[in-house]
């Protein structure tokens, strides 16, 4: 692990303090990729993100070369928020990506996610 002061890492640390949910971000720089959703599912599977206790993991996958992204949510969180939530998240994420640096855009999305995750999967006070 590279200890970084990336806004993404900061946002993830903030999220983990608030909720038991798990969010990971995966960037790729690759020209020949036609299916970001399939690639994101592979990453989701590779990092065994379905093993969270409440099935509340979320993966944000961004290909900077093809300028495409995917967001994958596990069963637990999806059951709580529904598909419409992800569609709106994608719209906002797209706008953020167009209007600011992508790291900031991702961090903003993580903050958005942290609100929802905190609502449904709050971390108990005092728990690490």
């Amino acid at each position: 692990m590279v200890p970084g002061k990336s806004p993404i890492v900061k946002a993830l640390q903030f999220l983990e303090r608030k909720t038991t949910g798990e969010v990971r971000v995966h960037f790729v720089d690759r020209y020949f990729e036609t299916d970001p959703m399939g690639a994101a599912l592979d990453i989701f599977n590779e990092y065994q993100m379905t093993r969270t206790q409440d099935r509340n993991a979320v993966l944000i996958y961004v290909n900077r070369r093809t300028r495409r992204f995917a967001v994958i949510a596990d069963e637990g969180i999806h059951r709580q928020v529904g598909q419409r939530y992800w569609d709106e998240l994608a719209v906002n994420f797209r706008e953020d990506l167009l209007s600011t640096y992508f790291e900031n855009a991702v961090a903003l999305t993580i903050f958005t996610l942290s609100v929802s995750l905190e609502k449904f999967f709050p971390r108990e006070r005092g728990a690490v």
Binding site: S6, R24, M37, T66, R68, V71, G82
Partner: protein, 257 residues
């Protein structure tokens, strides 16, 4: 006394005649124009070849021998041995075919331009004999290889049989001999080259893409570079049976910007 001297003279004359006759071949040299102890060629082919060589000799006084042998000896060694013990008369050429080693070697008497003929001999082996025999090791290929090689030699010797086209007539009398052109490997067509080049280009592009591609994975603990071999995902899916399987996620969304 006179009779005795006469007998001695006769003996000397006979010995001299034997030693200096143009056909005084040492043991091991072929006694006929065509010799095939190993039955390498079909009888019909041998007959045609012998007829050709006899006619050529009758017309030109140039003798071409063909010996086909199965001797398990290096052709060059046997040739050297043969040349050592044989009197090579002018205007005589010998063609050896070693069936075990698939070799065709020639030697020419001093009446021929030996250097030029040596080039012809090597061409006979490389251009006619070996391609035909390697392409079709049956009697058909052997016949074509030997006959076309001899034809090439006679063309080089400017045989009257070639000029009168009788040589080709005699060759074509062989059943199903086919073309007089030697077998040549089919060159790959331009289309296959284009397909190959396109394939290589696509493969190269994908390889370069994978080589230059980068991945980073972020968690709350920090971030890491992820190194992947080219086609790692594809190999994992195909050969390790580690595909997504029954992976069930809740929902998801994709988009672009």
């Amino acid at each position: 006394m006179k009779k005795r001297v006469g007998n001695i003279r006769l003996c000397i004359a006979l010995i001299t005649l034997f030693l200096f006759s143009g056909n005084a071949w040492a043991s091991g040299a072929p006694s006929r124009l065509v010799s095939d102890e190993s039955h390498y060629l079909p009888a019909a082919t041998l007959k045609v070849v012998e007829n050709i060589l006899v006619e050529h000799r009758d017309l030109t006084d140039e003798t071409v021998f063909l010996e086909i042998s199965r001797e398990n000896q290096a052709p060059e060694d046997q040739l050297r041995e043969w040349a050592q013990f044989s009197v090579k008369p002018a205007n005589t050429a010998l063609i050896f075919i070693w069936t075990e080693k698939k070799r065709l070697v020639g030697v020419a008497g001093y009446g021929f331009g030996s250097r030029a003929l040596q080039r012809i001999f090597s061409e006979m082996e490389g251009k006619y004999f070996l391609p035909e025999v390697n392409h079709d090791p049956s009697d058909f290929g052997k016949t074509r290889g030997v006959v076309l090689a001899i034809r090439d030699l006679l063309v080089a010797l400017e045989s009257p049989l070639v000029e009168s086209e009788k040589l080709d007539e005699m060759i074509q009398a062989l059943p199903d001999f086919g073309s007089l052109e030697p077998f040549q490997k089919t060159e790959s067509g331009p289309l296959s080259w284009v397909i190959f080049c396109i394939g290589a280009l696509v493969f190269g592009l994908i390889l370069v893409d994978y080589t230059l591609s980068r991945e980073a994975h972020y968690t709350a603990s920090g971030w890491v570079h992820v190194r992947r071999f080219p086609f790692q995902r594809w190999f994992r899916k195909r050969f390790r049976n580690q595909g997504l399987g029954d992976l069930k996620t809740g929902g998801g969304v994709s988009g672009s910007w």
